[in-house]
């Protein structure tokens, strides 16, 4: 029997199926349980998700508890506030060897959430010291690095003590959802994977979020696989593709086409798992039924895309060259990956376009070219001088930014 989340995904992939997974969280226990059961029963190879609410994410447990007490709607499941008895009851008869459940949270200080998920008998979650700090939190990056080091060690110690293999997924391949060039997404995913490994994790997944160009996305996932082979020896890893996380198409047909292309990307690149999005995504938090429909659509699209022999890892691409350069430039800064990440952001060797966090330099800018590829408009201090054109365009105005943010929505709604 496959062991844990990573084992399930690896075994499912070996059997020729893409694991599909929603991002689903409800404040109400009955709704959350119904959502997990519906995911489990969906006609696809699924893994379950508990997404925590955003009060819990930022550690505002008082507001989460107050919302629960007053019956107000929450945008996710308040894992810490519900407590261990409720959480175990939620999962009883739901989670099993054929249906692992991952907790998704977005927290720069995940320790309380990790304790709660371990108490609930779970051992799979996601995030990272960079990807859940810079875009989503106000705490200094140095604090997030320390919190995440502690979180990783807690997950490893308690998970392995109970004879399990805890699983942690990097969110680094998704930072800010859109307009971060793929080379840096891949680099961040690998660097967070190395951070997890340094803190004891032996079972990791590496994320990459679909961007604006299908060809470039294939290059990116193949580069991610190649770099994982090179840098992450001694751990079990798989790749998880995220369906587009930016401004989503509004038409059902556009949304379906975008999700289908994400499933095809996963299959063509040998990725083992896919996080789906629903047709409702551009409007509001999706229902259980909409999530199930998205899971089943993605599952069908993945099957239709087979047989596809997994392509070999590809090192001959712009994305690979940029990602490798950023990884190496970062790792050279300090033998400890966490310290190296801090220095890299301080020096601008890593710099997330448009991210407003004070520890992000904010000099790098991106643009979408005529073919839809996501490129650097300004590399700032990124060490990419001979790899990317570094010309500075005039400052981007609101209309231009909006145009770029809506590129994918326009393209896919235009199909309708």
């Amino acid at each position: 029997m496959a062991a844990g989340f990573g084992g399930y995904v690896t075994a499912t992939a070996a059997a020729g199926e893409l694991v599909v997974q929603p991002r689903m969280g409800f404040g109400d226990v009955a709704a959350m349980r119904a959502g997990l059961l519906a995911t489990k029963r969906a006609r696809a190879a699924t893994a379950g998700t508990i997404t925590v609410d955003s009060y819990t994410r930022v550690g505002d447990l008082g507001s989460a508890a107050a919302a629960l007490a007053s019956g107000a709607a929450l945008n996710g499941y308040p894992l810490v506030s519900h407590g261990v008895v409720v959480n175990r009851a939620l999962l009883h008869g739901v989670r099993d060897d054929g249906f692992p459940v991952q907790v998704r949270h977005g927290s720069a200080n995940p320790v309380r959430i990790f304790e709660a998920l371990l108490d609930a008998g779970l051992d799979a979650t996601e995030g990272g010291p960079v990807s859940y700090c810079l875009p989503y939190s106000r705490i200094p990056l140095s604090q997030a690095v320390d919190h995440w080091a502690r979180g990783c060690e807690l997950l490893v110690a308690r998970g392995q003590e109970e004879g399990r293999e805890p699983h942690l997924e990097t969110f680094g391949g998704c930072v800010l959802g859109q307009l971060c060039p793929p080379g840096q997404l891949v680099a961040l995913s690998v660097l967070e994977g190395l951070f997890f490994q340094a803190h004891g994790l032996r079972d990791i997944s590496l994320s990459y979020a679909q961007q604006t160009s299908p060809e470039q996305d294939v290059e990116a996932v193949l580069a991610l696989r190649a770099l994982a082979e090179e840098f992450l020896s001694g751990v079990r890893w798989h790749v998880v593709v995220y369906a587009y996380m930016g401004v989503y198409p509004e038409t059902p047909r556009g949304a379906a086409a975008l999700l289908t292309s994400a499933a095809e990307l996963a299959v063509r690149t040998g990725a083992e798992r896919l996080i789906v999005k629903t047709e409702a995504e551009s409007q509001r938090i999706p229902t259980i039924e909409e999530n199930v429909a998205a899971l089943e659509l993605a599952g069908r699209a993945a099957r239709a895309a087979r047989p596809a022999a997994p392509p070999p890892p590809s090192t001959d691409s712009q994305v690979y060259a940029e990602a490798r350069r950023l990884i190496e430039a970062t790792l050279e800064l300090h033998e400890d990956v966490g310290r190296a990440l801090l220095r890299a952001f301080k020096l601008g060797y890593l710099d997330i376009p448009y991210c407003l966090h004070p520890d992000n330099r904010g000099a790098a800018r991106s643009r979408i070219d005529a073919d839809g590829r996501l490129l650097w408009a300004d590399v700032g201090a990124l060490p990419l001088d001979d790899l990317a054109e570094r010309h500075r365009l005039r400052p981007v105005g609101s209309a231009e930014l909006l145009h770029a943010l809506h590129y994918v929505q326009r393209k896919f709604d235009g199909l309708a």
């Binding site: 955003s54 009060y55 107000a72 875009p135 939190s137 959802g177 448009y354 407003l356 981007v396």
Partner: protein
């Protein structure tokens, strides 16, 4: 339609641009709305202090007191907006220094994706001058008009902290 950055308001003298403070609310991690609104405000002739996402109430109040903005722009799209606005706007209004500053809030404020009139009315009663929650492009047009009309309050000048670049 690309707009550049000329000062739209002839009453605005060089070096005396009114200041907008753009901010997310405590539980909302979304950034693009804030980046976009910063550019819109700049295009309408305002200097912008952008606090970014996930701003705790106390920080928002402290920054508003320090910065003395001529306009406070709260934007949130995670579905907790009405609740958070009803919590934080009274905290802003409780500070005498901020009694007269226009406060506006917009975005996707509830989890249903629809305007919730009763909550919007409560938010306005709590001291929010304008709630932009129709979800349509007319919200931005109206916000631009509002931003372009904001004027600089000379009497607050001495209290201001300089705008930091970047």
């Amino acid at each position: 339609m690309t707009r550049m950055f000329p000062d739209q308001n002839p009453a605005r003298i060089e070096g005396r641009r009114p200041r907008a403070l753009v901010s997310g609310v405590a539980s909302d991690s979304h950034t693009w709305n804030l980046v976009y609104l910063q550019l819109v405000c700049e295009e309408e002739g305002l200097d912008v202090v952008n606090l970014g996402p996930c701003v705790p109430d106390e920080l928002l109040v402290a920054e508003c007191v320090d910065q003395r903005p001529d306009l406070v722009v709260l934007s949130t799209v995670n579905g907790h907006g009405y609740r958070e606005g009803l919590r934080v706007v009274p905290k802003l209004r409780a500070r005498p220094e901020l009694a007269g500053v226009p406060i506006v809030m917009g975005g996707r404020l509830g989890v249903t994706g629809r305007r919730e009139k009763e909550l919007a009315d409560q938010l306005e009663a709590a001291g929010c001058d304008r709630v932009f929650d129709s979800g349509g492009p007319e919200d931005i047009d109206e916000f631009r008009t509002l931003a372009a009309a904001v004027t600089w309050k000379a009497d607050d000048a001495a209290a201001r902290t300089p705008v930091q670049s970047g």
